[in-house]
């Protein structure tokens, strides 16, 4: 019985593996033959496969290094074993997009102890021996808040934050404070925070429900909404639209989602802070290629120091994000990030310069 089940399993695996073609990789350059492993936390999200992965692959190929990867499917436990698997497969450098920056620490530390440098990609891993490459997320928050404050500088503010377990949610919030928004649980002379909530899994549907309840509690007396990303901004705008307030209340976001950029063109979203993922992927790929020959993370070009929330001095590469508003939509068009038909769907002729 057990043998039969094992045979059936083997058969099934053989069929599935046979169906998926595995691309071979080869190249030449400074890091020839060096294997770089990437551990994705959740490959299903929009950006990773579309923008980050090709950029990493291209940078590695240019240096002659080889790309291998696996996906943790949003599980911190899976990711820990995934990192080990990459090293078993011969990875000399590991790039980790952490599901949980705390839970992945032992796996990262063990990799570093075994002489495999670790790059914390986009999300922080609190280990000073890891190289942290990201867009400056505090700056993202600051840019969001500044763009919203430019439209409405005082009144009742609602803050829709991301997943509580994600350090970025708090970095972004810190950026709001830098721009002049009061701290959690406080109010200033000008700004009163009338609703503030984390959102499980950054779920737009949950963000919509939160927004509906905040509008109800304040009888629609909300002057501005700081939403930490574009997906949740979609939920916020849907809630505002149901009250006839879409376009009248400024809303922030980030990620450069096509739907969100369309909302910026329509005037329903004020700002979309755009982090060109290709820049991030390129930086990580180049850094990994350098680490192939020299394992010292401080020797990688372009590094600086970054004081983490955990009090560690991280060696890091921080890239600069860009705030996209109605006035500079041509930036994303020119970069080929989005096509004009998508960006300008339903936009009234002549209302937005980039759509003409």
């Amino acid at each position: 019985m057990r043998i039969r089940r094992a045979a059936a399993l083997l058969g099934a695996v053989a069929v599935i593996v046979g169906a998926c073609s595995s691309p071979g990789a080869s190249g030449s350059g400074g890091a020839t033959g060096c294997k770089v492993g990437v551990s994705w936390n959740n490959y299903q999200e929009e950006r990773w496969a579309k923008w980050d992965e090709p950029a990493i692959k291209a940078a590695l190929a240019a240096a002659g290094a080889e790309y291998i990867s696996n996906d943790a499917k949003s599980s911190a436990e899976t990711q820990a074993s995934n990192v080990e698997n990459l090293i078993t497969q011969g990875a000399k450098v590991v790039i980790i997009l952490a599901q949980d920056g705390e839970a992945i620490k032992p796996a990262a530390a063990s990799a570093i102890a075994n002489g495999v440098p670790v790059i914390a990609y986009d999300r922080l891993i609190e280990d000073p021996k890891a190289l942290y490459i990201t867009f400056d997320n505090v700056l993202v928050g600051k840019l969001q808040a500044e763009a919203v404050l430019k439209v409405v500088s005082e009144g009742n503010f609602v803050i829709i934050k991301g997943n509580k377990a994600d350090a970025n949610a708090d970095f972004l919030r810190a950026g709001y404070v830098q721009a002049g928004v009061p701290e959690v649980g406080q109010n200033s002379d000008k700004i009163k925070i009338v609703g503030e909530s984390y959102t499980d899994n950054w779920d737009p549907g949950k963000a919509q429900t939160s927004m509906e309840q905040f509008l109800t509690a304040n009888n629609n007396d909300v002057d501005a909404v700081l939403s930490e990303n574009d997906g949740m901004a979609g939920g916020v705008v849907a809630a505002l639209k149901a009250q006839g307030l879409a376009g009248k209340v400024p809303v922030s976001g980030q990620d450069g989602d096509a739907a969100a950029l369309n909302r910026v063109a329509l005037g329903e979203q004020t700002v979309d802070v755009w982090k060109d993922s290709r820049e991030l992927g390129k930086a990580a790929g180049q850094a990994a290629a350098q680490l192939c020959s020299n394992k010292d993370i401080k020797a990688v070009s372009g590094v600086g120091q970054f004081k983490s929330p955990g009090g560690n001095d991280m060696t890091s590469i921080l890239l600069t994000p860009q705030a996209i508003t109605k006035d500079n939509l041509n930036v994303v068009l020119d970069a080929g990030w989005i096509d004009k038909a998508k960006l300008c769907q339903n936009v009234a002729a002549g209302s937005v310069a980039a759509c003409n």
Partner: protein, 455 residues
């Protein structure tokens, strides 16, 4: 024995009805003070568990109303609550039948995402762009919905066939589905958000525009009342014809009056929520109406998702209590061996519960994506847990054979009341999860305790 709410003659086609009549005669013979209360509930034939849930809901609402300075029991918040509960409640009605037959469906959240995404692709990509027919065609929303429901039935049937004919446990089949359907979303468009949706389809999500308005809401209420009265009379006649015991006339009238008043009150509340001023002035401007001083007042009425929920709950109750299929489901859950020996086609029946579940998930997927006016990759994440929790809080037993549709809908409303209420009080999401978890365990624990006492 199976347990069914509010439907007096659910077991009347069985000889058990006579036994029950005898039991209630014996019980009324006790005549003590405590059993006087019981004799009133017996003659009203009310499901005491449902009554208990309604009381619990009332307590929750009053507590939130008090703590939120009078912000909870308002037309606007109750209207919000009804729309926010609809999607989970619709799926919970199907989950009742799945759990009653001693199965489980863990795939509903992922399936909701997959079907929602598919419907979004049909209306925002395939019809307008791939086929080049353009946006906002009059037939777009129907085609999208039909594709979603058809696909939902097909996938549900696949799950069901594997469970019933393949002999794979439902836990395993739907755990596989949980992974597969979420994974397939990614294959469509590398996880891009698909928005905006067709403007007619978006109405399915509710919002002031996606609602019936006052006149139609009242018409629906009156039809519902007529239906209640007709059902009560028809039931009474049928029972009389077969010589079963019926409620006393006063009890019959009281039950009818209570249900009717409840329906009318719900519609009155929905109609007391006026369109938001900004939308009303926009409407006035668009239709060339001069606004009266103080603004134009348009009643919102029942939202479309809530109307759909009411229809689904009605149909599911009829299926569960009046149709052979539904009775078979309860018989299988109560005692699978006896069901087989009794000549019930168990496999076919189990498969059909999953088909039904798939259809209901498709309906919920339409509502959820329409409400958001877009499809995102994490649409419906963790919904399976909310749906199962709603069914269980509503009195569905994992031992099989016990569960009610009305209970599941109430369970969904209880959970959403907690979440929406805590948001009003600015309680953050981690604390919300803790409270909902405690309520889930406490509700089921209390239920088990009372059941043990009763037996």
């Amino acid at each position: 024995m199976t347990e069914i709410s509010g439907v007096p003659d659910a077991t009347s086609h069985r000889p058990a009805g006579r036994v029950r009549a005898a039991v209630s005669r014996v019980r009324s013979a006790f005549g003590s003070a405590t059993s006087r209360v019981r004799s009133v509930t017996t003659s009203l034939e009310i499901d005491t568990r449902l009554l208990g849930m309604l009381l619990a809901l009332a307590v929750i609402w009053i507590l939130f109303h008090w703590r939120s300075n009078g912000n909870f029991i308002t037309p606007r918040n109750l209207w919000n609550l009804s729309v926010q509960s609809a999607s989970i409640a619709i799926m919970a009605t199907g989950m009742v039948l799945v759990i009653v037959s001693r199965n489980i469906d863990l795939s509903v959240g992922s399936l909701l995402g997959f079907l929602g995404y598919t419907m979004a692709m049909v209306q925002a990509e395939w019809i307008p762009q791939t086929l080049g027919l353009g946006f906002d065609q009059p037939y777009t929303w129907i085609v999208a919905l039909a594709v979603g429901i058809g696909l939902g039935a097909l996938i549900g049937g696949l799950h069901g066939a594997l469970v019933a004919y393949g002999g794979v446990p439902s836990f395993v089949v739907t755990l596989g589905g949980f992974l597969i359907w979420r994974g397939l979303i990614f294959w469509y468009a590398q996880g891009q958000t698909i928005a905006p949706l067709d403007s007619s389809f978006a109405l399915l999500g509710g919002g002031p525009i996606g609602s019936l308005g006052d006149r139609w809401s009242w018409i629906v209420a009156l039809i519902a009342c007529a239906g209640i009265v007709y059902t009560l009379i028809a039931n009474r006649r049928r029972k009389r014809r077969y010589g079963f015991q019926t409620r006393p006339r006063w009890a019959e009238i009281l039950v009818g009056a209570v249900f009717c008043v409840a329906v009318l009150a719900a519609v009155w509340v929905a109609n007391s929520y006026p369109w938001p001023p900004a939308l009303a002035s926009q409407y006035a401007a668009d239709h060339g109406i001069t606004e009266p001083p103080g603004g134009l007042r348009i009643a919102t009425g029942i939202a479309f998702p809530v109307l759909i929920l009411a229809g689904v709950a009605l149909v599911m109750t009829v299926i569960a209590t009046r149709r052979r299929f539904g009775r078979y489901v309860f018989a299988i859950g109560g005692n699978p061996e006896a069901a087989v020996l009794g000549g019930i086609n168990v496999r076919r029946t189990i498969m059909l519960t999953f088909v039904l579940m798939g259809v209901l998930v498709a309906i919920s997927a339409a509502i959820t994506s329409a409400r958001l006016n877009g499809a995102v990759t994490n649409l419906g994440v963790q919904n399976e847990l909310d749906v199962i929790a709603a069914a269980v809080i509503g009195g569905t037993s994992f031992a099989g054979g016990i569960g009610t549709i009305a209970g599941a809908v109430l369970g969904a409303v209880v959970m959403q009341s907690l979440r929406s209420g805590m948001l009003l009080l600015l309680v953050d999401s981690p604390t919300q999860d803790i409270v909902v978890g405690i309520v889930l365990v406490a509700a089921v624990g209390l239920d088990a305790l009372l059941r043990r006492r009763a037996s």
